[in-house]
Assembly symmetry: C2
Homo-oligomer: 172 residues x 2
């Protein structure tokens, strides 16, 4: 996980599809029309995100978090089993070596059908991922961390560019 | 994006690393120790997620949302340009065809250094992704959608399993 470099959100990127949307908006700029011009979003002052069809960005993000929570639940259950039920721990490890966790729901469905012991593990994973999503995951913290990360990344990118630019200029 | 099947969160999965953590907890079960036994998390009633090291699950999720927001910002800016500045739109499209959006920060850094016109595009993308993260993205909705998705997925998985089981039994 730590070495992940692939971003699913940007997969199958089709920014330049034939359809045209002229109702995008950017706060603070009169250059851009606001999405309030869309009959379906009356009074909306938000930027229009093109190309998401029926699924909102929030739903896309929730879908990926859903998979993340399954991954987290598998980690939690696995660590629990490791300390008191090595047999089940090994069974889960063996199952994981044969099945991908990329699609959490598919993983759970397959785990349920492996054997009665695996079924019990699957039910626990379902229970844990639900509890984690609703009780343990710090949603407010997520927003705070994401906002901070955004500020830091933007500042760093601009600073690095300026430094590079100064070095290039001084090297001339 | 719609066809995404790869989950980054579960990449480099190393659930079964040699280290052992015996302080995992599950709400409502006396079988599991609570993470309050950890001196660093006194009074914590949350499930312990093993293997995350210094980075919390919230930080991991925020990191992926950060990339998602860059992707969203590129979509927004691209759609804006399409309606009033075809030249810049084509330049961005051409740049996108040569550079991956998997790492949003790297993409922006490279866009900044392409040319002065590309630099202006990059600065706009930085501005838009920050505004989107802080103003437009519906964080409360994200939590609501994720919780609903979790309930629906768990119910569906269990229902499908029961139906399969009934069919198998009746087929005997």
């Amino acid at each position: 996980m730590e070495s992940c470099t692939i971003l699913p959100f940007s997969r199958s990127l089709s920014l330049f599809s034939p359809r045209s949307n002229g109702d995008e908006a950017r706060p603070g700029s009169s250059l851009f029309k606001r999405c309030s011009s869309r009959p379906t979003r009356i009074g909306c002052q938000k930027m229009y995100v093109a190309g998401f069809g029926e699924a909102s960005p929030e739903k896309k993000a929730a879908n990926h978090l859903h998979k993340f929570f399954t991954y987290i639940a598998v980690r939690i259950v696995s660590a629990q089993l490791e300390s008191y039920n090595r047999e089940a721990y090994n069974e889960l490890a063996e199952f994981l070596s044969r099945h991908s966790l990329n699609d959490g729901d598919k993983f759970c469905a397959e785990l349920m059908r492996e054997s009665s012991r695996h079924q019990a593990l699957a039910l626990r994973i379902l229970e844990v991922r639900s509890a984690y999503c609703k009780q343990d995951f710090e949603w407010d913290n997520l927003k705070r961390v994401a906002s901070k990360m955004m500020d830091e990344a933007n500042t760093r990118l601009m600073r690095e560019y300026v430094l590079d630019h100064v070095e290039t200029e001084s090297g001339k």
